[in-house]
Symmetry: C2
Subunit: 225 residues, 2 copies
């Protein structure tokens, strides 16, 4: 018997409204995560919320978040990692893609088409050197698939200067809006245009470094983006 693998909904991941937009199955969640590389990492510092844009990569049911060893969330998790019992850093990681502007005839029914994943959990610093190397490769390949193997790997000093947080995907939900506006029946005859303006990130022509040796071929994985 086939079964859709899904994350267990919790009180935090069941939306208070628009529940029909929520999804928990692995395929939907992973596809949204894999379509991006910048998340917004939320954590609590001195009782106050902090939200920072952060690079991430996914390996199976784990997210790896990138940062300098000197950055605040990484240091906070690092200080925790130094303790006998590592409590980690409680985080909320959100990845959002905007797919379209939804223009209804009424101001009220204007909306956005989007795909979004929210992950709640406790992040831990990756201390195992092999896991850290694999995580950094995954991070680079998440941004530009194929690039990790086509660049100089980090040396010991660079690996020490880079901190990686691991966040297991357990308490996770996706939220998706698609389609056109939902106008009130009595508004349909109004003279306003209604519909969707699609939007998507588009990559331009690669700009070589000034110091790139003439004749260095442009890698195929760049044209593929």
């Amino acid at each position: 018997m086939s079964r859709v693998e899904a994350y267990e909904p919790t009180t935090r991941t069941i939306p208070t409204r628009a529940r029909d937009r929520a999804a928990y199955d692995h395929d939907t969640v992973h596809a949204i995560l894999d379509a991006g590389y910048v998340c917004h990492l939320g954590f609590v510092r001195d009782g106050s919320p902090v939200v920072l844009p952060t690079l991430y990569g996914r390996v199976g049911d784990r997210l790896y978040l990138h940062g300098s060893s000197g950055s605040r969330p990484l240091r906070m998790a690092g200080e925790a990692a130094g303790e006998a019992r590592d409590p980690g850093l409680e985080v909320c990681v959100t990845v959002t893609h905007v797919d379209g502007l939804v223009l209804a005839r009424s101001a009220f029914h204007h909306s956005i088409n989007y795909r979004c994943v929210v992950v709640h959990g406790t992040a831990h610093q990756v201390t195992d050197p092999e896991e850290k190397k694999a995580a950094l490769d995954a991070l680079v390949d998440h941004v530009v698939p194929g690039r990790a193997a086509d660049s100089r790997p980090g040396n010991a000093k660079e690996l020490a200067a880079t901190a990686v947080l691991r966040l297991d995907l357990r308490e996770v939900s996706a939220k998706i809006r698609t389609g056109g506006p939902h106008d009130e029946p009595e508004d349909l005859a109004l003279p306003y245009w209604s519909g969707v303006l699609p939007v998507a990130p588009v990559y331009g022509a690669p700009i070589p470094s000034d110091d790139l040796a003439p004749g260095t071929p442009e890698p195929a994985y760049l044209s593929a983006r």
Copy 2:
């Protein structure tokens, strides 16, 4: 004497690293805010961080954040608004634009070109009907400039179902990275391509609603996006 107007840096808005990327002047901060319409709203709920994508608009030195009256952060601020002394909701609002993928010869020096604004502060529910109407117009016009005047304004029931949070811009910083990769001198001779892959949101052709009356003209402000 001319003076650049700027937000006062605080311990929270001075970065622990890459300080040369930070900016506080109004022009830089406002331009980044005005270039987007989806922020990531962070707040603390039961001691844990929550980060949600949220529509926003800017009016002078104020951000207005949009939500349903039923959504969690709006309800939390709303409950507070009901109290004799309104403490508001402590938030961190982050707006990020990704401008390019920076590919260095070394994995370590890979980066992202981006523009980002982080706002710390206390958000309050907008209760004044006139301010709420103006804020909702600003929100719609932030997404599609010119649209607020070209749609049916909200009625009393719709305004009641919409909650708007106000966040004053006081503790604010921008962070910007531009330009190519910064490779180590000893890496310059490596055979890897290096440079920047630019990226930007691009709008497609507008898709009219199925129920749009034939002959309804496509508004000029859509082609302008």
